[in-house]
């Protein structure tokens, strides 16, 4: 019944960065399930291959693996050159850092902003400039409630990088609307991924934090992937420049 389901990604070609683990990996799985053809990108070829091997392949769908470290400009350029014009891009690569303000020196900001902000905006800039985003394409940034909807002690570096990304989303949305390209971001609360188990806080502290969530659990990667699927689909064709909070109610 192709064409009748506005939520289907059938026939769409989508680039997903940070696809080797966590939310990015799940978005890749869900998009493939919804019949998209994918370029999965990340730094680690083995984990990326594992994602690729896990993707469902519907008839007419083709998935490709593109290894790239987005903090290296030559690798970003190669990535942009390697993709055919896209119907969608989901940018999921990101790193975390927990640090009180008094230890948040400029080099810490630079390290996190490089991955969470500069490399994200740079990739989208180059895709747009090289006309690798088709008219009516959809761009989705993986943002966070941190820095905008939630201010927690120790999260200044991560939070400000995500706040900057939220702001950039809106500028891209406005300027890219000339080609009817939509740009949105998703702001998850804490989601069960390797990123939250870095050990800076103990598992007990994480559990106590989880119980603060009105819906009594952290997010699952699927909770976020379904929003990405919606934003990539034709169902969201009048949605642009927005930040979508998915957080189990913690920001209420």
């Amino acid at each position: 019944m192709e064409g009748l389901n506005p939520f289907s990604l059938s026939g769409k070609s989508i680039l997903i960065t940070g696809a080797s683990s966590g939310i990015g990996r799940q978005i890749a799985l869900s998009c493939a399930e919804m019949e998209a053809s994918l370029y999965v990108s990340g730094r680690n070829v083995n984990r990326l291959q594992d994602t690729l091997d896990s993707l469902s392949t519907h008839s007419g769908c083709h998935h490709k693996l593109l290894v790239a470290d987005l903090t290296h400009s030559d690798e970003v350029n190669n990535l942009v050159a390697a993709v055919e014009p896209l119907d969608g891009a989901v940018l999921c690569s990101g790193i975390g850092l927990t640090l009180p303000v008094k230890f948040a020196s400029q080099d810490k900001f630079k390290e996190v902003f490089e991955t969470n902000f500069f490399s994200q905006v740079e990739l989208v800039r180059l895709l747009y400039k090289a006309k690798k985003l088709k008219a009516s394409a959809s761009v989705v940034f993986l943002d966070s409630i941190g820095g905008t909807h939630d201010i927690s002690a120790g999260a200044i570096v991560y939070g400000t990088s995500k706040a900057a990304l939220l702001s950039a989303t809106k500028y891209c949305a406005l300027e890219f609307s000339h080609r009817l390209i939509r740009v949105n971001c998703i702001c998850p609360g804490m989601v069960e991924t390797p990123l939250i188990h870095r050990g800076t806080v103990t598992e007990e502290q994480l559990h106590a934090d989880m119980m603060r969530y009105p819906l009594k659990r952290y997010g699952r990667p699927e909770d976020i992937a379904y929003m990405a699927v919606y934003l990539l689909s034709d169902a969201a064709s009048w949605v642009t420049g927005q930040d979508f909070v998915i957080d189990g109610g913690i920001s209420l």
Binding site: P100, T200, T202, E204, Q205
Partner: protein, 76 residues
């Protein structure tokens, strides 16, 4: 690395607790001002001063300032 200097660096992470209250044998979990934010500050201080990465579990499992000193020393 010196224990005395470590204690001094440790005590600097507190605002209301006088440095004289913090000695090698102080069980820091019992200090009134001890909090998750102070714990994060200690982790950050150890990273900055000694280039050693402590985990939340290290802070939880150590009892006294000297325990933590020994742990950091063992990872230098």
């Amino acid at each position: 690395m010196e224990l005395e200097k470590f204690i001094e660096n440790f005590a600097e992470q507190f605002d209301e607790t006088d440095a004289s209250e913090i000695t090698a044998s102080t069980n820091y979990h019992d200090l009134e001002e001890w909090s998750s934010l102070v714990a994060l500050s200690v982790i950050a201080m150890v990273d900055e001063e000694y280039d050693v990465t402590l985990k939340g579990d290290d802070i939880r499992n150590s009892k006294t300032v000297e325990d933590l000193f020994n742990l950091v020393s063992s990872r230098l």
